[in-house]
């Protein structure tokens, strides 16, 4: 029997901010080439989970393994090497205002000294084309782009270095339904092209149904359910039912109602 090492493995991951426990004990495994979508309400700890994996936030406890290698307590140089396996699409795009679009896309290639500027530009233009943007967009400034175009550029940047793992943070937030579907399609195609493992966090159920192989739900800092996308409607969990159907009534109480 083959023992496949999970691409990402979280065990007992804990993160607090002062007295507020955001992640209580997160256990999650994402296998190679799997597309895992993490769902959960606002403030449930989805983004914090991603930031802990990337080392942008320091976990208070537990274990984070990438390809079996422990990330907590790792040296900066080792972390940098592991981070080169990642690409990420940020919620707001997080494009660098001071650089033209093509340099944004090619930033990782240039930072890792993988290519000279001319070759990096060529790859950037090709990636822009891959996400449906014409080469002349490359010379524009990010401020000149619409929200949907910024997401596409962010996606092109995320896949530019052919990463092994891609994180998508709320990829469709702020987009109209048609553009959301376009972005979802692009994510599925690009992840397949690159052959990457994908972790997406969202509360957009149409994204979940389009992107996911497996789904995990976070509630109160714990994973309360995980399973294949096609089982989500028969999960048997009242929490999942309430969330996917967007009902105000149910076991999940919004913080605003507690006071």
């Amino acid at each position: 029997m083959t023992n496949i090492v999970p691409k990402i493995s979280l065990k007992g991951l804990r993160k607090t901010f002062g007295s507020k426990v955001v992640l209580d004990s997160i256990d999650l495994e994402v296998m190679p080439s799997e597309s895992m979508v993490i769902i959960g309400g606002s403030g449930s700890g989805k983004s914090v989970t991603l930031k802990c994996i990337l080392g942008l936030l320091t976990a208070d406890g537990g274990s984070i393994k990438i390809d079996g290698q422990e990330m907590i307590g790792i040296s900066n140089s080792d972390r940098k090497e592991i981070l080169s396996k990642f690409g990420m699409l940020f919620q707001g795009g997080a494009l660098f205002d001071s650089l033209p679009v093509w340099e944004n896309v090619a930033f990782g290639l240039l930072a890792q000294r993988l290519y000279n500027r001319a070759d990096a530009k060529e790859i950037a233009i090709e990636k822009l084309r891959r996400v449906g943007l014409s080469p002349d967009v490359g010379t524009l400034s990010p401020a000149e782009l619409s929200g949907g175009m910024q997401k596409r550029v962010g996606l092109a940047r995320a896949i530019a270095a052919n990463p092994e793992i891609i994180f998508f943070d709320e990829p469709t937030t702020g987009l109209d339904p048609i553009m959301s579907d376009v972005i979802n399609e692009l994510i599925v195609e690009c992840v397949k092209d690159v052959g990457a493992t994908a972790v997406t966090i969202t509360h957009d159920m149409s994204s979940v149904r389009k992107i996911a192989d497996n789904v995990a739900m976070i509630y109160h800092g714990n994973i309360i359910w995980t399973g294949p996308k096609n089982k989500i409607d028969q999960s048997g969990s009242d929490y999942i039912d309430q969330f996917i159907n967007g009902k105000a009534e149910g076991p999940i109480k919004m913080e605003i109602l507690k006071g």
Partner: protein, 258 residues
């Protein structure tokens, strides 16, 4: 008792902030000295900090030099010592007003701009994006800004501020106060000593360090949204100005106390 507790809390929070800034400075210097280097980013910052600050620095010191000449002429004429004007203008400008005014103006322009830019990058996750793109934000954002300010403050801005400040005094004295051009220049050159220029350039370097450090520290540690960026920008300018005035006294003491 409560009053003492308040004093204690303020003291602890001040020391904590000083410690954090100290660690930030050490880390910034360490990153400045070790590769990878970003020469394009350094050049961009040098242009932004040095070249684009020239007009405001030049105008300020030109008028200050002229005003200084008027004041000294009026004061010295009370005891028939008008001939000391060129000497006092050059010493006043080079030792004190050139570097200090230049520092304060550049603090307003550059510290604010660094804090606002880095703060916006922080709240829009651009700094997080740098990390995910295998780029150390300290090396890419902080080191070039501090190094560029350290280079441009003494080598361009304060040299220009001193020169134009003295020129302002010269133009006013020769055009309005009846000074002979050749005599004015001779007095200026004769009484300017190497130590005055050294003090001016040292001040410029120290001020440049604090201007960039405060802008970068407050911008990099911005929290919240637009309000957080505003707070960081204000804190950067205020703390840079305080550090400039404080270090001005310390450097002056080091150079001139006998």
């Amino acid at each position: 008792m409560n009053f003492l507790a308040v004093i204690g809390r303020v003291a602890i929070s001040f020391l904590r902030a000083a410690g954090r800034i100290g660690l930030f400075a050490v880390s910034a210097i360490a990153h400045m000295l070790t590769p990878p280097y970003y020469p394009r980013e350094l050049f961009r910052q040098m242009i932004n900090i040095g070249y684009y600050s020239l007009p405001v620095v030049g105008l300020t010191t030109l008028f200050t030099g002229a005003a200084l000449a008027v004041n000294i002429y009026e004061g010295s004429s009370r005891f028939n010592a008008e001939s000391t004007l060129p000497t006092i203008v050059v010493i006043g400008i080079v030792r004190e007003l050139g570097p200090t005014l230049c520092g304060l103006i550049v603090a307003g322009r550059v510290s604010a701009s660094m804090a606002a830019e880095l703060g916006t990058m922080r709240v829009t996750e651009q700094i997080d994006a740098l990390v995910t793109l295998s780029t150390d934000p300290f090396k890419y954002l902080i080191a070039p800004r501090i190094l560029a300010t350290l280079i441009m403050m003494p080598l361009m801005l304060v040299v220009v501020a001193d020169t134009i400040g003295v020129l302002g005094g010269y133009l006013l004295a020769t055009s309005k106060l009846g000074f002979n051009s050749g005599n004015y220049m001779k007095s200026t050159i004769d009484f300017l000593e190497t130590i005055d220029v050294m003090a001016s350039l040292t001040k410029a370097t120290v001020f440049g360090f604090f201007i960039a450090l405060m802008g970068c520290y407050h911008g990099f540690n911005t929290r919240g949204g637009a309000q957080g960026v505003g707070i960081s920008t204000t804190n950067a300018v205020v703390s840079a100005c305080i550090m400039i005035l404080l270090s001005n006294y310390v450097v002056t003491e080091l150079f001139y106390s006998s």
